[in-house]
Symmetry: D2
């Protein structure tokens, strides 16, 4: 059925930056969405996309967008559905203006993630949080809306924790080893990271500790009640291009066996799988039996970068269970996350007539 | 006083490998020890050291040893004090044979570290464990002895925990990001580690979890009683040449303030400082106030690689305190550790005629 | 027409090593060839392929071969067409034995490349050198044959030079910056190459200087007359996973304009394009107009790794023309090269009924 | 004699950037110069140096300068001798203003290197070019002067060519593999260089091709006559922190033997050695006999980074001789070069009473 869906026009705010390029790449080959409107700052306005956006990704810019004229980020212009690849400073004002003008803004920016009436969405985990959109429109008087995806390192963690909620999540200690692409372009200086580890990423630990609880929370009449799990994060930058690796120790009330934990992870599915969304992997979590996996360079591209790979599920003498998880930070953790959010909204009728 | 000490002849077992080269480099410029006897496998016997040991370190082999003839690892040959850079397989038989023949074997190998009558020594922490040597000689009938230093990743952790014993160590969760030099030469294939993280190092987690308790243990009439702290380790290899970085969360019974923790670390001193041993840093732990330190490439060589750098001392919402520590794995964690052990033994009269 | 060709069974000698894995990966998705027979050393014989060949490539081993039993390298077993991923030592005896037993051995090994009656084949350049096979069979009394592809760094250079033969090649000075995958697994130690350049690869300069002349040579009744171009190579290893980059200066008798040089490169085509071979790129050389390309990480996978990317075509004040070229060393420079050789042989009737 | 020289006060323009930090580090431990005056842009003026200059180098900022107040770049302030670590844009106006105000500006900036009356100085090669200072003062009416050192990649090449002038330099083809530190901080994005090679550095090839001829030129009444050697450069960035590696092919009229070439390089000395200048290495060029050297990580720090290491001296079938050279780009190629220039000027009386 979904194979015959006609592609709808979508826009990209901040289309020329590195995250924007990832949106454009994903959308150019998407069966449901067509990147018909590319917007960026005034500096780029009027230029051909191929000129305005020096391409930072490994393949060439998609043919169909090379000649597109870049437009300004003016609310009301462009299609109803717009993806936001804006940095936080720009997103702060531009995203609400677009929502007010009737656009559905599917955003990767951090500004509104923790607002009480904004869904912080991972479709496999909390598709029901989209119910916040009614509150959001009522509260803000918008015809449009803002929907967000989490920070890249949070996505990997939340995906691992979601299937374990049944065992009673108590506390989670995570140490990340994050790729440089998470910092954008030019982002991390080569002088800082070649042959080095930087044990600090600004605000990253705070985001992981708060966003995770909201994502795993339950929605009721009064909005989202955050999950009570305690999260403690150590975040580190390592000389890897793509893929955040996370060493995770977890305390679970029910004290499941390791087989039960692995089984819960490997069998995890959600709305994207039930709805057979175009970019949804059949199994959003793959559990590797190899002793030394996951590894970013070898596992990051599994299923187009949308699958989390887990390995080394074993006993933690302190918290009970420990394991290693890996996800593609710029796909499952950014552009791909937003695209999956939009697929869910389209498939469930939230985007409506085009 | 110690400045006028005459250099004594010492030997190196396994002198041609990478760890052996580090011993030779350290000893060639040592004020108390002279690398007078270099031993290796039969393949190297009789050859000039410079030919038998293709140099893997960043500077050139020391002039004074280039022409030395490499001898075989035959007990009885060579000076009383020998450093062992043997791998575990070779060390298993050779080290006891040397001890039986009257040599003091100061070993970096893992074979005998956990034996009840063998000191697992970090001079700042457990100099009193040298009392085990009497037990060892009685039990084994040796005229010589074996003294060991810990695994490289354990040293960094144990150094951080030692000053915190006063606050009541309960549990410690550590995630390491370890340099490739820890695996020797050729060690880690470039195909495995360039732009990658490998979340597994064989037996490393087990070593950290057991060795730490022995090192921090108390010695009594019946030997060493291991410390009761629970240690849980995630060990990872990262593309760094030298320096193990460790993200550590710690539960302390006394719930000290962060200032008390930092103060305890920064003021930590032990026998090497009291005795003013030649390679002992004035402060074996330096606490950095920078938000993004320690970093291996920038901090690893502090005080010739003998100092542990700690940073980011902050609250852990789960265990109470978290921080990052860094140490030089082939110096403080291997050759330098053994040399400091020998300095302590010489300064305290355990090596005998000088 | 070729779309309806039935897949023929082929074999792989040395299937468990890293080059063998690349053959298996290429063949598992090949429209003409089916990897029906996987052979390796005695150690692997009888084991399932997935167990015998710890997978080193970035994706998982193909489903269809995971359970295949590995056979021994015994001449007469296996299909008529076998690809050889053997190292030189093993290839020395095994390849002739297979050729004598009637197999067509399409080899990536270096042993027989420079033999006067063995084609050193790049199908775009010297498809006519396959005429050597008659000589080879007569001279050696074989029913089968050996066909070879060049060394990985030679392929990149020869591809660039072939279209420039029309201008009169006089001399070529090339400096390579070669990926670590060219040395196999474990190959280059991380201790040697992290943050480093090694300005030496054993025998590599000699291979580039001799193989290039044979490849570009003309075939006549007395065999191949090597091209008279003088080649001088500096070969270097750099910390790159895949992709050999080559800085090339060229003296051309006809002194063409830079546009003529770029045009000759960009329009280059050969038999693989004429025959529309399955893995042949439409344009085997792509000339980039960007000022800073080619780059291995961004350009190496173009057209599945079968295309050479050239950039920075400009004047050389000494030799006349300079440029930079890049090719995928384990695809266009190894397994993919051999597969293209076999496609050419099949399409031109040299493999015949199976 | 020089041991008893009193340290003179010197200044640093642009002291807070990465090159400025290297000057400060070099000067803080210099026997002749004391970094008494640190100047930078208005943004830093009045702040303590340790606060104004986030330290990018591997060790800590020198104690003696941590508390120094940073001054503005105002001509007339500060000591007579000032080192300029300014970028080209700033240097364009500031350096002449300081020279006009009576300062001796020893500059690492590129602006005035190719001016006919400005020495482009490598003390081992062209100490006599300091005679240009008289012309400079007369022509410009300055009481002070500007003296420059070459671009970092040029220094390595020029040092290799200088001893070979006796054989009649005809042409030189050089391919560089340059470290990221050559681009300053933040400089090269990690997204561009991790696991990659970038075969382009803006204006670098032009600088190598022109500066080399001026450096090797002869001085006469009408100024410097550039050497007639033709230089052709391919410049590349590689993932190395410090150290430019250069693969060099050289045509020499006299066709010396390889031993004569190696001998000329190894025995090369100049004014710095004759005058025993403090940072001059005993042998400015060391020729390695190892088959795989020089390598940046293993050789770059030789003699504090002031020595050029050469290896692989061998026949080039096109130009006659080929070899590999390596030098420390931020020491011998930048801050250390300028400091050696100032040492030469002080030792030869050109700086005079302060």
């Amino acid at each position: 059925m979904q194979g015959v869906r006609k592609r709808i026009d979508v826009g990209v705010l901040g289309a020329t930056g590195m995250v924007g390029q990832q949106f454009v790449r994903q959308l150019a080959r998407h069966p449901w969405f067509r990147p018909a409107w590319l917007a960026a700052s005034e500096r780029s306005e009027g230029r051909a996309y191929a000129d305005a956006a020096p391409w930072r990704l490994s393949d060439a810019p998609p043919e169909e967008v090379r000649a597109s004229r870049v437009d300004g980020c003016v609310p009301g212009r462009g299609p109803r559905l717009v993806f936001s690849a804006l940095d936080a400073t720009a997103a702060q004002d531009i995203e609400p203006a677009f929502a007010a003008a009737g656009h559905l803004v599917v955003s990767n920016a951090r500004c509104y993630r923790m607002d009480a009436d904004v869904p912080l969405l991972i479709p496999e985990i909390n598709a029901d949080h989209l119910a916040l959109l009614d509150r959001q429109r009522r509260a803000r008087g918008w015809r449009g809306a803002i929907v967000t995806n989490p920070n890249c390192s949070t996505v990997v963690l939340a995906m691992v924790l979601a299937p374990l909620r049944r065992f009673g999540l108590e506390s989670v200690l995570v140490t990340t080893m994050q790729a440089v692409s998470g910092a954008g372009y030019p982002g991390v200086s080569s002088m800082d990271i070649l042959g080095n580890v930087v044990p600090f990423i600004a605000n990253e630990e705070e985001k992981m500790e708060s966003e995770t609880c909201k994502i795993l929370g339950t929605i009721g009449d009064s909005g989202v009640t955050p999950h009570a799990v305690t999260v403690s994060a150590h975040t580190n930058r390592v000389p890897v291009i793509d893929g955040h690796t996370e060493a995770i120790s977890i305390a679970l009330k029910a004290r499941p066996s390791l087989d039960e934990v692995s089984g819960a992870l490997a069998s995890f599915k959600g709305q994207p799988q039930a709805l057979n969304l175009p970019t949804a992997p059949a199994n959003p979590i793959v559990v590797s039996a190899a002793p030394d996996r996951p590894q970013p360079r070898r596992d990051v591209d599994r299923d187009g970068g949308m699958t989390i790979t887990v390995g080394r599920v074993r006993r933690c003498p302190i918290l009970g269970v420990k394991l290693v998880a890996l996800g593609h930070n710029t796909i499952r953790g950014a552009a791909g996350a937003a695209v999956l959010n939009a697929e869910l909204m389209l498939a469930t009728g939230l985007i409506g007539e085009d």
